[in-house]
Amino acid sequence: MNDTKAPANLDLETPEKTYLDSNELILNMGPQHPATHGVLRVILKLDGEKVLGTECVIGYLHRGVEKIAENRTYTMFNPYVDRMDYVAAVSNGLGYCQAVEKLLSVEAPPRANYIRVILTELNRIASHQLWLGTHALDIGAMTPLFYTFRDREEILKIFEKYCGARLTTHAFRIGGCQYETYAGFEKDVKNFLAFFPPKIDEYEELLTTNRIWLERTKKVGVISGKDCIALGVTGPVLRASGVKWDIRKAQPYANYANFDFEIPTGENGDTYDRYMVRMIEMRQSLRIIEQAVNGIPEGPIMAKVPKVIKPPVGEIYHSIEAPKGELGYFIVSDGSTQPYRVRVRPPSFVNLQALDTMVRGMLVADVVAVIGTLDIVLGEVDR
């Protein structure tokens, strides 16, 4: 039982004295584990079932995306960003394209911005659906997973019709969008707007007032707004802790200033609040899509961008509100066709740092609940 020694660098100071080392158990959760959402490895130090400390071991999915960027032209690197957060590929593409546009001092035309908003918000819903399904599955409710996948299919169909890909969409280009919307795009989106609200009600019916769900999520993985800011946590996790921070409102980009929507916040910063925040966010995304699809202007979809992109020497940081939090791109240009350095600020990676704060003193079952509620994607954590 006590034969497995923790790695030497494991800083697992125990908050309280345990008398006996055999009561302490080092549990190696992952990288092959059903509830770590890919290949996250969490080393848990347990006292019985109580978590005394955790250490995340990441990097099992490291592909060197940032290094690849240095050897590709700006255009060639565009598809790679889709492979980071593969459940929210559209957001990744939007962030990258806008960062390069900023570097080039180009502004995407209004119609392109509207298309971008519609697709990005659809993608936000798809990402939250995937989160909801897997999160519920981690807590033991199997059924929501299949419901969310059924409804996510409708979004993916729109993506497929628009750009031919379902997951790694590569929907946007630097300077706008490559494709004009297909005939019937607006009808499809409007159909989805009518189709989806009852489905959210269905998910909520299964979970929101379910006693077991409440017991499993309330007061679990609590993190204060102060801790969130100290750890750099962003996105729904930050908002559930009561901090009203959403880049779409704080530093509006891509026409978001023109849309009317609200930013949901929680009070307790527990798993249930994060659940509720994301559920409300889905409804707010529907509101944004509705305004966008009704007000979509005619016009060009591509700004005047040179065939060979050669930004002036300089550096730029641009961040957007991805489904999981603040997704930032820091690009240094040396004036050539290839970026000198691209640094990605992935929300999953930063949010994952909060895991230890959130699960200390909780039980093993809460660890999976918290990993689920952080909504991490390992492709983005490891890059």
């Binding site: 080092i26 199997m142 079952a365």
Partner: protein, 450 residues
């Protein structure tokens, strides 16, 4: 009763001579001291439970799939009917992996113990007044005791695997099963207490007598002293889900936390033994619930709906004796509907033929059962009548158990999983006090009434 006693006298001493009336025995073979028939009963029950587990496997996957807007197994056989067989073959021929650090002997014997505990219980499960292997006069005590031995298999599996996930799973399950046994036992006691509320004040621990007492008192114990019986039943129904480690109490094998809990290191045949034991235990505890609260093999209203429906013919007994056959005909009709709706493509021809054959088999069984019921009624032959009654007893018992099995699937599709401390809280702080209270109030009401 004296007529039955004489019947016993004529057959009990001569094993095998009364073979024509398998279901027509007046007492259980164990009581009649008839080892041959006891052995045959054991084999029948063993085969029946195994088939039920296989059927349950298919039904669970299909029902769960339809809860979750998917189709479930569709490829192996029409509507995946042969999927359990394919699974069984796969599990049998799979490599049997024993971890190098495992304790080989304990690792080997743990699933066997679980399986033995789950199957031994069926010795006293009464499918009818004489359709049981034996009628122990401590039947319910025996059932609770032996089913509680199943935890030994789980604990040993967790320990022998010499790995952290199984160990945590085993510790969880032992704590869980021991805790819920308390509430379960108290709920059972309140039902046993109800058996003693008759004229001579004698209670019963024998499974058969418990059911017969419900008939004599004219009420299923779930409705007795409403709502006391119902509360005790609900407590048992919750505790039995925890006892069999099923959702939402499936912490010992919580796949999202402990990968697979106590059977993480098991594969192939040994793993399938665990699954077999789990499903057999589910059926066994459901049988306890049916026997104690839902009138066991009794058909609905056995005391009220008797005598002729119309002035002369037919009698209610005959009407109810038709149910088994009609059920099989109904299942056959569903299969026929499935056959008709199969795609009309040569690729599906064999599947369509197979489903049609399955429908024919179901309908054939239905016709056979109907024939027995009608023939017995028409001929008036005592042995035939007894056989028909036996079939109908088994049918009602299995039907009631099947409802519980469906509930298990429903729970699994609906609820998230409890956390360990919450599970303990529910067991010790909710179920235990309520069951104690129900027991005390039942005793008081019983004293006042009698």
């Amino acid at each position: 009763m004296s007529a039955l006693t004489s019947y016993l006298g004529s057959t009990a001493g001569a094993p095998g001579t009364a073979g024509f009336a398998v279901l027509g025995w007046a007492v259980t073979p164990g009581e009649a001291n008839n080892q041959l028939w006891a052995l045959i009963y054991v084999l029948i029950i063993f085969a029946g439970v195994s088939v039920a587990v296989i059927a349950m496997n298919w039904i669970e996957r299909k029902a769960l799939a339809h809860f979750q807007v998917r189709l479930g197994p569709m490829r192996v056989g029409p509507h995946g009917l042969l999927q359990p067989i394919a699974d069984a073959v796969k599990l049998l021929i799979k490599e049997d992996i024993i971890p190098a650090e495992a304790d080989k002997f304990v690792f080997w014997i743990a699933p066997v113990i679980g399986l033995l505990a789950a199957f031994t219980v069926y010795t006293v499960v009464p499918f009818g007044p004489s359709q049981a292997v034996s009628d122990m006069n401590i039947g319910i005590l025996f059932m609770l005791g032996v089913s509680s031995l199943g935890v030994l298999g789980i604990v040993m599996a967790g320990w022998a695997s010499n790995s952290h996930y199984p160990l945590i799973g085993a510790l969880r399950s032992s704590a869980q099963m021991v805790s819920y046994e308390v509430a379960m036992g108290l709920a059972v006691i309140s039902a046993i207490l109800m058996t003693s509320l008759n004229t001579d004040g004698t209670g019963y621990l024998s499974m058969i007598e418990i059911v017969q007492e419900q008939q004599r008192q004219g009420v299923w114990f779930i409705f007795k002293f409403f709502p006391l019986g119902l509360i005790a039943f609900v407590i048992f129904a919750v505790a039995m889900v925890a006892e069999t480690n099923r959702a939402p109490f499936d912490l010992p094998e919580a796949e999202s936390e402990l990968t697979a809990g106590f059977h993480t290191e098991y594969s192939g045949l040994r793993w399938s033994l665990f699954m077999l034991a789990e499903y057999a235990a589910m059926i066994a505890v459901s049988s306890i619930a049916v026997t104690l609260w839902l009138g066991g093999w009794l058909r609905p209203f056995p005391n009220w709906l008797i005598g002729p429906v119309w002035p002369h013919e037919p009698v209610w007994d005959f009407i109810f004796a038709l149910f088994p056959g009609l059920t099989f005909l109904g299942l056959g009709a569903i299969a026929v509907r499935g056959t008709v709706r199969m795609p009309k493509h040569p690729y599906f021809r064999i599947q369509t033929i197979g489903l049609g054959a399955f429908a024919a088999v179901l309908a054939g069984i239905g016709v056979l059962l109907l024939g027995i019921a009608i023939g017995a009624n028409a001929s008036g032959n005592a042995n035939w009548l007894r056989a028909s009654e036996g079939l109908s007893n088994v049918y009602w018992f299995v039907l009631k158990v099947a409802i519980f099995m469906y509930l298990y699937i429903w729970y699994r599709a609906t609820w998230p999983r409890y956390r360990f401390d919450q599970l303990m809280k529910v067991g010790w702080k909710v179920l235990l006090p309520i069951s104690l209270g129900v027991l005390i109030v039942t005793a008081m009401v019983g004293v006042i009434v009698s």
